[in-house]
């Protein structure tokens, strides 16, 4: 398997997903849920079947504008609106009951705008701190160039996930943030295992083996492990996605995409980036030597 030699192809494959994702992020951004924007969400389970129009009617009469209505399984309806006062919300539920028949409130969420802003700020802060912590640890245990390559691979994973969520406008909630951070922690695992092998092989490097051959060999030696590990995580995530209920769908989907992207970047991006950094450093050194 030619990892280093064909690295341009592997980079290009990544860019094929990254660039549309980035464009989408710039143009339409993410479909932010009420966890970020603030607002109210009601999930109502009606006794009788209702249509979106029925629900829209009641909302209009109650003067609750700019809401989205979504039908869910089992006569359930999810309504999202701007933040409702408790009294407004009670009136609305009352109106639904009288006009559309008996119902139970399955979920009722109200998030103030302050909380949403904090969530975003904390998520970014967490990412930043995680990056600093990892760079420090990897630099200490390996070397700085490994750290840079690992972080680039991680940013790749996060951009792939957020990009795909943006392209398909899947609504993101606070569990998305948790998923991203977990992907961050999880995918570095894969990268480190490969780097660990490169580090080990460098120590007992044979004279006639080139760096690219050594990296190729290291990736190949750890390949089964990389694939098997990702497979077991994918088993769990697929089980959660199909049988785990609606509430964890966003989280699981983000994790699944992230883990797949992470496996790819660990194998096809992280080591090649490190190799390129190494080559670049050598070229610098040679240029310096020549100048001296």
């Amino acid at each position: 398997m030619e990892i280093i030699g064909r690295r341009k192809i592997w980079y290009a494959l990544s860019l094929l997903i990254l660039i549309p994702g980035l464009i989408s992020l710039l143009l339409q951004g993410l479909n932010l849920g009420i966890d970020f924007t603030g607002g109210s969400m009601l999930q109502l389970k009606f006794e009788r079947a209702v249509t979106v129009e029925n629900v829209r009617d009641v909302l209009d009469k109650a003067n609750v504008g700019s809401s989205t209505i979504q039908l869910a399984e089992g006569n359930s309806v999810i309504v999202r609106t701007h933040t409702l006062e408790q009294s407004q919300r009670n009136e609305l539920v009352g109106a639904m009951k009288t006009q559309l028949g008996d119902l139970t409130v399955e979920r009722d969420e109200n998030v103030g705008p302050v909380v949403g802003k904090e969530l975003t700020r904390n998520a970014l802060l967490a990412l930043l701190l995680a990056i600093i912590g990892m760079v420090a640890y990897i630099s200490f245990r390996f070397e700085f160039k490994f750290a840079v390559a690992a972080i680039i691979a991680l940013l790749h994973d996060i951009l792939v996930v957020t990009g795909l969520f943006s392209i398909f406008q899947i609504e993101v909630d606070s569990s998305f943030v948790a998923a991203i951070l977990t992907v961050f922690g999880y995918s570095i695992n894969d990268t480190i295992v490969i780097f660990d092998r490169i580090r080990e092989n460098l120590r007992k490097k044979k004279k006639d083996e080139n760096l690219d051959a050594l990296v190729n060999r290291s990736v190949k030696e750890t390949l089964t492990r990389s694939i098997n590990t990702v497979l077991t995580v994918i088993f769990v995530l697929v089980a959660l996605l199909f049988w785990g209920g609606n509430t964890t769908k966003v989280f699981t989907l983000a994790m699944l995409l992230g883990v797949i992207a992470g496996a790819y970047s660990s194998i096809f991006n992280a080591s090649p980036v490190w190799y390129d950094l190494k080559q670049w450093e050598r070229a610098q050194r040679r240029a310096k030597a020549k100048a001296a």
């Binding site: 408790q86 998520a123 922690g185 894969d190 590990t229 959660l240 209920g245």
Partner: protein, 402 residues
């Protein structure tokens, strides 16, 4: 064949089986479910602050105590009421049947003021210590008995002295609750308000006064409720998903790695017993993210085994004997597992410190899982493999996938 090693292997498996069987009941009985799994209410209250009116730690403690008192009346089994940061209070009532009633009660966070006829605020909620309804012994008349704190008593004495014969309005925000007339100067910090139709009326006002006796206005910045049916459904579904996920992992490990795969399964069962046991001892609450965290940590635990077995295969292919291959495999796998898990732990720790509520639960579960997996993979799996390898029953290298 080595009988001693074989016996050791059987003993190890039995220990795990017994541990799993014995811990099952205590764990199931002591498991606490989060509100997303049994339904319930989650509320975040935030003090309303202005640049010249910052809330103090003491005031927040007061708010905490008042909310505790109010919620105790609801009869929720284990309410969670805790301060967060400098100006927030989190209330979680799992398993509550009527969340609306609780929201109304918690939401009564209006600011209590006593105002003179010309609209001047003379007494605030923070001056009031307690309001309690009572029947006056002699006349059997319903009254509300007010107790003011020392500062409030002083203010109240001044105000009543200056307003004898006039009315003092009691307001919750802008709502006039009552407009009693001052009959005499009240100096002792104890006052009574009369003129209620029934004890029930007096009780209602007393409760409102107590509710209004918050030292600072609180705003509900976040509210989430989950109905009991949805919670039960989520629990059932995540149980099913967990079974399927774990089943797939076990099947894969056994089919791909054979003998070590079986060792891994035993080791993963031990791992699960330890992690769930620790979480139960820590009185952790199981939430949906928590379950996801546990399942993912299972993935990490599998990974530790996979790293070891891949090493083992490599050593076997390099022509080493089974025994040295097992020892060298573990030796070499150790740094790999250490470095890869420490980097993951870094992000978990950060997730814990910056996250709230369910995200914290997720981080705790995953973190405990990673630490435990390092322990079980490097000690228990090793013991098992040594016994299995030494027993002489499984000498064929094919049984190790090599």
């Amino acid at each position: 064949m080595n009988a001693r090693k074989l016996l050791q292997l059987v003993a190890l498996i039995s220990v795990v089986a017994i541990a799993a069987a014995l811990s099952y009941n205590p764990i199931v009985q002591n498991t606490k479910l989060g509100l997303d799994l049994q339904g319930g209410l989650h509320v975040v209250l935030q003090a309303v602050e202005t640049p010249d009116r910052k809330v103090t730690q003491e005031e927040m403690q007061q708010v905490h105590a008042i909310m505790e008192q109010r919620i105790n009346g609801l009869g929720v089994a284990e309410p969670l009421i805790q301060l967060e940061g400098t100006n927030r209070l989190i209330i979680e009532l799992a398993g509550i049947q009527d969340p609306d009633k609780a929201v109304d009660l918690i939401g009564k966070t209006a600011l209590l003021t006593f105002r003179t006829a010309d609209g001047q605020t003379v007494i605030e909620g923070k001056d009031l210590k307690e309001a309690k309804e009572a029947l006056e012994p002699g006349s059997n008349m319903a009254i509300v008995h007010l107790t003011l704190n020392s500062e409030g008593a002083k203010k109240f004495a001044d105000v009543t002295r200056a307003n004898v014969g006039k009315q003092i309005g009691i307001y919750l925000d802008e709502d006039l609750l009552q407009n009693p007339t001052v009959s005499e100067a009240i100096t002792g910090g104890q006052a009574r308000i009369t003129g209620y139709g029934s004890l029930e009326d007096a009780r209602r006002i007393a409760m409102l006064l107590n509710s209004g006796a918050l030292p600072v206005k609180m705003e509900m910045v976040e509210k989430r409720t989950v109905g009991p049916t949805l919670g039960a459904e989520s629990l059932e579904k995540s149980k099913a998903a967990a079974m399927i996920g774990v089943g797939l992992i076990f099947a894969f490990m056994f089919l791909y790695y054979r003998v070590p795969g079986f060792v891994a399964i035993v080791s993963l069962i031990l791992y699960s017993v330890i992690v769930v046991g620790i979480l139960t001892l820590l009185k952790a609450t199981w939430t949906l993210p928590g379950i996801a965290g546990f399942l993912l940590s299972l993935g990490v635990a599998v990974d530790a085994n996979v790293i070891i077995y891949e090493r083992l295969k490599e050593e076997l292919r390099a022509g080493k004997t089974l025994r040295t291959a097992i020892e060298d495999g573990f030796q070499r796998a150790f740094t790999t597992i250490l470095d890869s898990n420490v980097t993951t732990l870094i992000s978990i720790v950060i997730l814990y410190y910056l996250g709230t509520g369910p995200i914290r639960g997720f981080a705790v579960t995953l973190g405990i899982g990673i630490l435990t997996s390092m322990f079980t993979a490097l000690s228990f799996t090793r013991m098992m493999l040594r016994s299995a390898g030494g027993s002489g029953l499984f000498n064929n290298k094919k049984l190790y996938g090599a």
